[in-house]
Symmetry: C2
Subunit: 303 residues, 2 copies
């Protein structure tokens, strides 16, 4: 066949359900339920799990008890248990709790940075300097997130060059990998390809991750487009946990099950057991009392 498909043979999924997902669900759940979720994801074969966040529970009540979650989970060799850390204090707490890795975040849009964390992009990066130094001293890898890479709820269009500039800065500060996120899910396949094409001129493709939201149903098409650009790392959330705070009732993170199904169809390795994953997703949906946000899970579980 003359198909011009040079897709990666292997993909690593970063499971963000326990953090990015649960953080955006209205209802906080118990530490025990969070531990169960992480253990279930472990058992399903996920190799990187964002377990929790070390922020003030005053601001994000859903993330209360992240230290207890870290100490309560069963650790599987080779699996990376990650924490989101907004500052040095959060980093120290994550380290004490036993996080293998931490993640920091910045926005690609000035307006989003101001409205979301009340400072400019460069100020937000500046605030990570002491965290980065402490992480380096403790030999803890730091992952970077860039949000609003394909659109901003306040600014609209976001220039790919601006995403490159923030990603470049995160690498310069010491991040080993940067995940670029379509936070509001407005991106489409062509723009996704163009963005990664630009980023890859300066940054090795294997250090770039894609983080897509399914708000407009585009996430899988965007992931397929990213694969065509040689991207091998994707963030996803079991059962599509996490809504979209900028459009009530709309879908948030792409469901891990749906990504796994796509990868299976493409013959791309990932190491995840789809039926165990779907069971894990349904279990947490039952805890939350919400509908399952994965189409694959709904189809599989209704058969």
């Amino acid at each position: 066949m003359s198909l011009s498909m040079n897709l990666p043979s292997k993909v690593r999924l970063v499971e963000v359900g326990p953090r990015d997902g649960l953080q955006n669900e209205k209802q906080p759940i118990s530490v025990a339920d969070k531990i169960q979720l992480v253990n279930d994801l472990n058992a399903a074969g996920l190799s990187t799990i964002e377990v929790g966040s070390f922020v003030s529970p005053k601001w994000v009540p859903q993330m209360a008890g992240s230290a207890e979650v870290f100490t309560g989970i069963e650790r599987k060799p080779g699996v990376v248990y990650q924490a989101l850390t907004p500052n040095l204090k959060g980093f120290e707490a994550a380290l004490a709790a036993g996080a293998d890795e931490v993640a920091v975040f910045a926005a690609a849009s000035e307006a989003f940075s101001q409205k979301n964390i009340n400072c400019s992009i460069s100020e937000s990066l500046e605030r990570f300097r002491d965290l980065m130094a402490a992480a380096q001293a403790a030999n803890i890898p730091v992952r970077g997130y860039v949000s609003c890479v394909l659109g901003c709820p306040y600014d609209g269009e976001v220039a790919p060059a601006q995403v490159l500039s923030v990603a470049r800065e995160l690498f310069a500060m010491g991040c080993y990998e940067v995940s670029v996120g379509d936070t509001i899910g407005v991106g489409t396949a062509g723009k996704t390809r163009a963005l990664f094409n630009l980023l890859a001129r300066e940054i090795p493709r294997e250090k770039l991750g894609g983080h897509f939201h399914d708000t407009y149903g585009q996430a899988l098409a965007n992931i397929y487009a990213s694969l065509q650009e040689g991207i091998e790392i994707f963030d996803s959330s079991v059962a599509g946990l996490g809504g979209c705070p900028y459009a009530k009732g709309a879908t948030g993170n792409v469901a891990t099950e749906d990504v796994v199904y796509l990868l299976n169809g493409l013959g791309i390795q990932h190491g995840i057991d789809l039926s165990r994953l779907a069971a894990a997703g349904q279990r947490i949906c039952d805890v939350l009392g919400r509908a399952n946000g994965s189409r694959v899970a709904r189809a599989l579980l209704s058969q």
Copy 2:
């Protein structure tokens, strides 16, 4: 940019909501509501609308009154109003009702053909011969549908060569265009490309349509893959009308709004007004008392 993207500049969407969609909704609705739906779709800019089906209302109660729908709708110049016709009797009724075009269907899977219409694929094609002759005499174009092209609920895998064979037969019988359908939504992007790549060896790409179901969330990725194979015709259903009879509670036809959003992002022309389309979809969902199956519509209408 060095992106190898030779996508079509223009796409024609075939709106199947009033027929394929409503036929698979549990609850039959009134003729007046069907007329309103078609008129709304008209106003949103759809150029081909599958208005109804001329089958026995004993078998498909949702399609009762298709003749009244055809006579009741406002006709817009240049718009094609299509009817599904299983046999000569249906064709004659469609012609009398004023259908501009008719559509016939066959399966790519023997098991599906047997279970769905109780005969073999070749018998089912044989049964269309008198209809095709009557259509030719009346100068009515006939569109062909092939179902189960990427998988069958009974047989599992379906060989692309089998799809080619049925499509070839439909063209040989006089169809001007053939739409190949992933009836149970199991297909993924790589298989979609491979299928169209094979079909296009014998059949001009501009005579092939793609009909995708979102049961496993793959429809938009499959449409993006099809666009990359030069396919310019897609079937879709406003608000994702139509469930999947083979997986209860699962999603059926891809939502027209979601396809339009993808095409907008890719800069591909289609002539459809997304906000009027989303309003039309929400209106029919309210009539049916069902949740809107379009993620784009949910996001747009919740803002």
